[in-house]
Symmetry: none
Subunit: 227 residues, 4 copies
């Protein structure tokens, strides 16, 4: 949880609007071409700065990418955190969660595409490990805590493992994010459901997913056998 920074001091010094503009332009490039095919000379040109200055801000292409990624992740995490902090019951929270995920995926699809990118990284163990930690620790802890609380309150089935169930939940949400934003997973959604997710009836997706999760979280194996 080191919260390292991956930019140089010079980047911190410039004003926020330029900072954001630069990051958005970089995110555009990374999100549309992928890490390897993205070209930092083009990013610099599009941002209206020299490549030399770019390297005054970020030591490597890698650092620029990571900074973009965190920039995107922070935004979503803030929303999720607020939801999970509320006094609502788990299922209410879950519904809010799904709705937020959908909305965010549509309005910030580029960020999700960056996140999807690192999931495919090969052989970059140390950097990858750090990124995972930075990103997933926050998210997992808010899920796990909430579920553990619900368990204590008797709001969910008593035979669930909070960590694994948090993991399953996040998996379902993550795949939904990918379906909204990434070429392959969008096509995949279409093959399974027969509709393009961007023209789909969101309410149906939401209600089915919520209903899926609701039952999964609520009914214990014991109770199930009695039915």
């Amino acid at each position: 949880m080191t919260q390292k920074k991956f930019y140089k001091d010079a980047f911190e010094r410039i004003d926020d609007s330029r900072k954001n503009k630069l990051l958005e332009i970089a995110i555009d490039e990374f999100a549309s071409k992928g890490y390897k095919n993205a070209n930092i000379n083009i990013i610099a040109k599009n941002a209206g700065i020299s490549i030399g200055l770019m390297y005054k801000y970020f030591a490597t292409k890698d650092d620029l990418f990571i900074t973009c990624l965190k920039h995107g992740m922070d935004l979503l995490d803030k929303s999720l955190y607020e939801i999970m902090q509320s006094d609502d019951k788990l299922l209410v929270k879950t519904e809010k969660l799904i709705r937020t995920i959908c909305a965010h995926s549509k309005s910030h699809s580029k960020y999700i595409r960056l996140y999807n990118e690192i999931g495919a990284e090969k052989g970059a163990s140390e950097r990858t490990r750090m990124m995972v930690e930075e990103i997933e620790t926050k998210r997992s802890s808010i899920y796990i805590t909430t579920i553990a609380q619900a368990l204590a309150n008797g709001d969910v089935r008593d035979d669930l493992d909070p960590r694994l169930f948090a993991y399953f939940l996040d998996n379902l949400l993550t795949m939904l994010q990918f379906a909204y934003t990434c070429d392959y997973y969008r096509e995949r959604f279409m093959i399974f459901t027969g509709v393009d997710i961007n023209e789909a009836d969101d309410e149906k997706i939401i209600s089915q997913l919520l209903s899926f999760i609701e039952s999964a979280f609520t009914v214990s194996h014991e109770e199930l056998k009695k039915l």
Copy 2:
């Protein structure tokens, strides 16, 4: 469902053992370095053939990759198909499914890494669409059919949409595959659960996931409210 082939006739003519050897070596390279960083000159050298011959077999690096991917996918699909064809009830099938996924992920992690790779592809729309179709059509149809059947038999809740539930199911299984095989998702599993999936108690994962899916598939929203 064009079932196009992405290799030249010359590749078909060589005997199966050389064919498989070549593909396995290519898969090694793609799986360990990712598509962009993989080097087909190195693949040729490792496979003991000249780069010239490589291009007699595959028109482009892309085609080689796709052929590798299909080679890997076919294997898993065959197992899944057999499971889903059986007379077992859905939950029994599901358990077999999960167990097969776990086993396969461990023994053929490289194939999953290739599959993971295409999920991150950016901007290759036409080719991507074809790949999705080839791969996901088969898998989705066996899931959907099975669930639809179970629905007709009254084995599952009556308010589920077979296609969406098949999709959710496949998402959970896919993410599990990634956790077993891909750097990022392995770390992510560790953050959520606290254990390394490769040293984890598989039975616990399986039973919790099965139990999660079981309740999700079985208890309708209507019944839930009564409880």
Copy 3:
């Protein structure tokens, strides 16, 4: 004494005339501009090959440089070795040595300039150490052995340390080489002697240096006090 090679197999495969041509062109570039300012794109262009092929022959600029350096050193070493292997007395050998050094410095000044280059390398410890070993081990051993032999024969003063005296001898010869070939040391020679070494009376330089070395090697401190 590992005798490592710093070129790839592909370089070995090409015929000697092309090999030598390439090396000579590279040596020209390195000798005239120094390692850092030398441009391997220019070397490739001058040699009439593509930069890609250049990298099929040498993995790095560094490796190309080292191969050039060894190419040059081997030539001189062969001559020196022959001289030192003869049955002549040490002083006769020394005179031959000096004459060979002078002649070689004039005809192969570029090689000496490369050798001079590595003497100025900063902070490249591991590579530097290897280069030193490759180059100096050969040269030092032929000097040391010869002097030790002369010592055993009573041809030189009995209070000399063969290794240190070999070292002093080589220092004098090395500096003479530099005077013939390197800008700075040529100017320096002029400042000291008043003449440009390339227009100087070689016989005078040779006789004075030989005489300097002769007395240094012959008269012991003991004998000196008696005079």
Copy 4:
């Protein structure tokens, strides 16, 4: 002997301690990385001044380097000059010389590394010529004068050429300096002598070198034949 200055007036105006600090830091960078790899932006940062101010002091990187070099050379020259001005006989002076060289090389190795650096400069003819003149004229003249005087006094052999013998003497001392300070020449010393010069018995080196020079300077070819 133009004694040009290679810094701007602004540099003269700052107080000596800042002047020296700046030069020492620049010398550190040049000595550890070499001229080409040294980075004057880093020098400025390490010295705690802005790069803009750096360029108010020195017009180019080159000028900074030359100023550093002279700064270092002056110090040694002062010591040498004092020794050579004394009334001692040549051999006594020579011993003092060697001892001073050893001590200075150890305490001011960075300066010698700068001096070594210019010996490897390629293709900078005009500037190089000036540097040589600045540095070597002083040193050569004190050696030559002293030797000529000794020759007049009959303290040294009558068949020596004062300029060439001064040159040989300086060569031996210069190579010793390099052995103490520069990576390559340190390794080279080790190969020849079998010991690391920084852990060596200085007295042995000194006595052998002195003895080498003593005989070289004292016994004429004529006398040698009689022995």
